[in-house]
Symmetry: C2
Subunit: 211 residues, 2 copies
Amino acid sequence: MRAEDRRELVLAEATRIFGSYGYVGATTHQVAEAAGVSQPYIVKMFGTKENLFLEVLGRALDCLMTAFRAEVADETSTQPLGARLGLAYVNLVSQTGMLLSLMHGFVLGADPCIGPVARAGFMTVYRFLREEGGFSPEESHAFLADGMLMNTMIGLRMTDDYGTDASVDELLTTTFPNKLELIRSKADPAPSGGATSPAAGAPADGTPDTA
Amino acid sequence: MRAEDRRELVLAEATRIFGSYGYVGATTHQVAEAAGVSQPYIVKMFGTKENLFLEVLGRALDCLMTAFRAEVADETSTQPLGARLGLAYVNLVSQTGMLLSLMHGFVLGADPCIGPVARAGFMTVYRFLREEGGFSPEESHAFLADGMLMNTMIGLRMTDDYGTDASVDELLTTTFPNKLELIRSKADPAPSGGATSPAAGAPADGTPDTA
DNA sequence: GTGCTTAGTTATCAACCGATCACTTAATGG
DNA sequence: CCATTAAGTGATCGGTTGATAACTAAGCAC
């Protein structure tokens, strides 16, 4: 396979793995297995695990900004931009792991290499909202806060508990007003081995991943 | 030292360490060193690293709920409850690591042991807002979203960049309307070594194979 | 068919991490 | 004085993990 194609495949799988297990928790071996190559080849391609993660973060941010800019450019819609951007954000959940990888980057601010990149990435989004989106500081704040709560719900796998508790349903419904079904169907089907301890893998109740 | 006192000390240090490095990234050795005991003693006290983290999460949630309930019970204030709870939340930053440890728990939803606990903890806060705080679903949503953005700013160590960029200052000012100074003064003074790889410094030249 | 590049592998290492076990030290109580 | 218990350590081990080095196989120009 062409190296460049292989690289894209690896990055896609790495995004999924990092999203599920976090930067520290994910292993280059897991990525290698998912991409169908040997573990040393992953290291050879990216130099270090850290570089791989940074590239995953960069890709995720690029993808996010591309989706946002498409909404700004779209002049056919009558919806307010805020709602359209929110919808675009939620739709990114279908790219499994992307938002979660970003989220994992957001808690690594203390890391001397990842921290600055994560901060810069977040500020890229903020400046986009202010400068290209025409949002006020308060509107930007509210938009980002909403997004962070969505991320938290996804990171918590709160959708796994949907239907088991009225409060959970209420919270999820207000967090994802229109797209709850999408979230539930596209949510990670629970990593096989568990995030840290390789315990049992009972398939839980049947949530067919048919989108 | 009395075992119970030692235990409290260990839990306090563990909260700091887990907040800085995350669940996977933190090591029992780091906690032991910070608490001034040997690493095997940490394991002996809590059985497993996982149990230690779960106890840290439980303590953090207890502390949060105690602070919130104190605000609800306080009838001397004329401020609206939402603002008071928000202020109480920000004040918790002074207990370094507490909010960050919670945040790290919130991205471990996929973990078969930690996930359920983290979800239950989040829902405890939600139910408190709805039932004891008298918040509507929408008010609760907005409050939690605000909190998650604050957590993200803290996790990103965005305050490290305060003063270097007008956008950063604007974002931080709208996120922490009154308490920015507190946040900045109480923020973790940046962990000594690298946050994840103790090999920080010289090597890691990470040149990805100039094939 | 030889030499060169591209795309990969196998084998292995040094370091680390959580956990276990045996041992020790200090106080307490009769 | 001695037994018991509480508090805690040193040594060490098995399993991982990221990274390195050496090797290989396919394609291809000439």
